[in-house]
């Protein structure tokens, strides 16, 4: 394998650590830098990365639910078009009363991501203006992307099974019994009732 110089990536990592002493940055591989820090500094680091380091493009913004440790991990992925480097910035926030700084004043497309996070994970962004409903409508249960939301329990509670499907019978057999139709030979071999 050829030796790829990681000079530009290391420069970015060093610069970030110099500017923000509480931040830890490392180069993962060519074109990939990762930084982690506490949540209060996130807006400052994002503004610095955008205005001074050339990370103009917000590639992605995500959240991971680490329910065992009782926190959410916020992940911001930025891209520098000129240097062709991806910077991932991460921070942990508490799962109880989860709040995070609103960044749609830095990148306005963050508005959409934050609407989804609010709806799906229950994370609040103080000062954030965006319509409440995004993908769901009139939802008053637990935010559904949280790990403790049980999809099966919700489905059983909310929906009912179509008659003939309660005991996972083969639908072809049910229809044939109901209507007196013969199941064709080619379909019989897939039937659960041998």
């Amino acid at each position: 394998m050829t030796d790829i110089s990681l000079e530009k990536e290391q420069k970015i990592a060093d610069e970030l650590e110099r500017t923000f002493p509480n931040l830890t940055a490392r180069v993962r591989r060519a074109r990939r830098v990762m930084a982690s820090l506490e949540k209060e500094l996130i807006p400052s680091v994002l503004v610095h990365a955008k205005d001074n380091l050339g990370f103009h493009h917000l590639s992605h913004m995500s959240v991971v639910d680490w329910i065992e440790d009782e926190h959410f991990e916020m992940v911001y992925t930025l891209w520098n078009h000129e240097k062709r480097v991806q910077l991932t910035i991460k921070t942990m926030i508490s799962r109880d009363n989860a709040t995070m700084a609103n960044i749609d004043t830095i990148w306005r497309q963050a508005n959409t991501y934050q609407r989804e996070m609010r709806e799906m994970f229950g994370i609040e962004f103080p000062g954030f203006v965006g319509e409440k409903d995004f993908l769901l409508e009139d939802w008053d249960e637990m935010p559904p992307m949280r790990r403790d939301f049980d999809t099966m329990e919700y489905a059983n509670k909310t929906y009912f099974s179509r008659p003939g499907r309660e005991d996972a019978q083969d639908v072809r057999d049910t229809i044939s019994k109901r209507n007196g139709e013969e199941v064709p030979d080619f379909a019989k071999k897939y039937s659960r009732e041998k």
Binding site: R31, K50, H56, H57, L58, S59, H60, S62, V64, D65, V75, T77, H81, R84, Q86, T88, W107, R108, Q109, N111, T112, E131, D133, F134, L135, L136, E137, P144, M145, R147, F149, T151
Partner: protein, 367 residues
């Protein structure tokens, strides 16, 4: 006299758009004062469902995230898993993947031709290009067994090798499509109606394009040469010779020209791939999928889909199921914040036209 403003709910069906979403417009006369995108018709909870399925079972779901172009989803997820696990992919599999992605790009552009021209009233073009797209789907059917959803690219390589005589069929199809482009030019790009409709419509400020999250053909049409295949090459794209589409008008016309040029490039790339593809293994076998545990880790991977940068953020906690899969398609930005902005001051009749030019795909917004 000032005209009274009214609210117009446009959609959820739109000509040429695969999927449903509604645009709520405030209009005065037929001029739009403000617009807001309303989604929620297609939320299938794929990301949540994947957390309850093992790594391989997720493939049956994720190809359905975007209907017109499912292959970047498969490739992204496979590459994310490979990156977390450190699994090597045989060289031949990488070439086959690139071939599938480029064929998918041509197919998606042909479908886009139909939407873009159809929303300008040129219906013949759509009938031709969708008919021609079927030749690409025929190739996919022979290669993967499925016309639309392939589940062909998976961790460790691809599901099967190229069938006998496949190379010739691909090359014949490329020759045919290349000849058809001349007809498309006559029908669509040389057509005064299309030119008048497309020029100056849906203008994106090039100085703001990157900051606003514009990707793909709309960004290249704003004069910014950006493409994941060049900027952050994956698979074997660094071994292919190709150019990016370029325009400076930053309107629907510019975006159309970029896409038209890139079909030619993709045809050329498929030929290069068929010529250079090495022999050898196509699959680095994974363990028993029911017991396959991927070590803890995370990856954000992206491909250049026909609509622009398509990203997957995948996290593993060391179990046999993904901890988190987060999908970001270009439409997540294009069809929401960007579209809302571009529609201000536009005419009602241009809404579908602008939506098509941005590569709007509602299923990937909602997933």
């Amino acid at each position: 006299m000032r005209e009274k403003a009214t609210t117009l709910y446009l959609g959820p069906q739109h000509p040429g758009i695969t999927g449903n979403m509604m645009v709520k417009l405030k209009v005065e006369g037929d001029t739009i004062q403000s617009a807001s995108t309303h989604v929620g018709y297609l939320h299938r909870g794929f990301e949540k469902l994947m957390e309850r399925r093992n790594w391989l079972q997720s493939f049956t779901i994720l190809c359905r995230i975007c209907v017109p172009e499912p292959d970047p989803n498969e490739e992204n997820f496979a590459r994310a898993v490979e990156s977390i696990e450190g699994r090597e992919v045989p060289e031949r599999a990488k070439w086959i993947r690139a071939m599938v992605l480029e064929l998918a790009r041509i197919g998606t552009y042909l479908l886009w031709f139909a939407g873009q021209s159809g929303s300008a009233g040129l219906y013949t073009m759509g009938q031709w290009s969708i008919g021609d797209r079927d030749y690409i789907l025929d190739l996919f059917e022979e290669l993967t067994g499925g016309r639309i959803y392939h589940m062909y690219i998976w961790p460790g390589g691809v599901r099967r090798d190229l069938p006998k005589g496949f190379k010739d069929k691909v090359l014949q199809t490329m020759d045919y499509l290349e000849k058809r482009l001349v007809q498309y030019d006559k029908l669509m790009f040389d057509n005064t109606i299309f030119q008048k409709r497309a020029k100056g419509i849906g203008w994106i400020d090039p100085a703001k394009a990157i900051e606003w999250g514009v990707v793909g053909a709309p960004l290249r049409a704003a004069g910014i040469a950006s493409d994941v295949r060049k900027d952050d090459p994956y698979e074997i794209y660094d071994k292919l010779d190709f150019e990016l589409g370029h325009a400076t008008t930053s309107d629907v016309w510019g975006r159309s020209q970029v896409r038209r040029f890139e079909i030619e490039q993709s045809i050329n790339m498929v030929r290069q791939i068929m010529d250079k593809m090495p022999e050898g293994e196509y699959y680095n076998r994974i363990p028993n999928p029911m017991k396959w545990e991927v070590p803890p880790g995370e990856a954000y991977v992206k491909t250049e889909s026909a609509r622009g940068e398509f990203g997957f953020y995948v996290v593993s906690d060391g179990s046999n199921k993904p901890r988190r899969v987060h999908v970001k398609g270009p439409a997540y930005v294009h069809a929401v914040t960007l579209l809302e902005d571009l529609l201000k001051g536009a005419n009602i009749s241009d809404v579908s036209f602008i939506m098509n030019s941005l590569g709007t795909c509602p299923p990937e917004i909602e997933r």
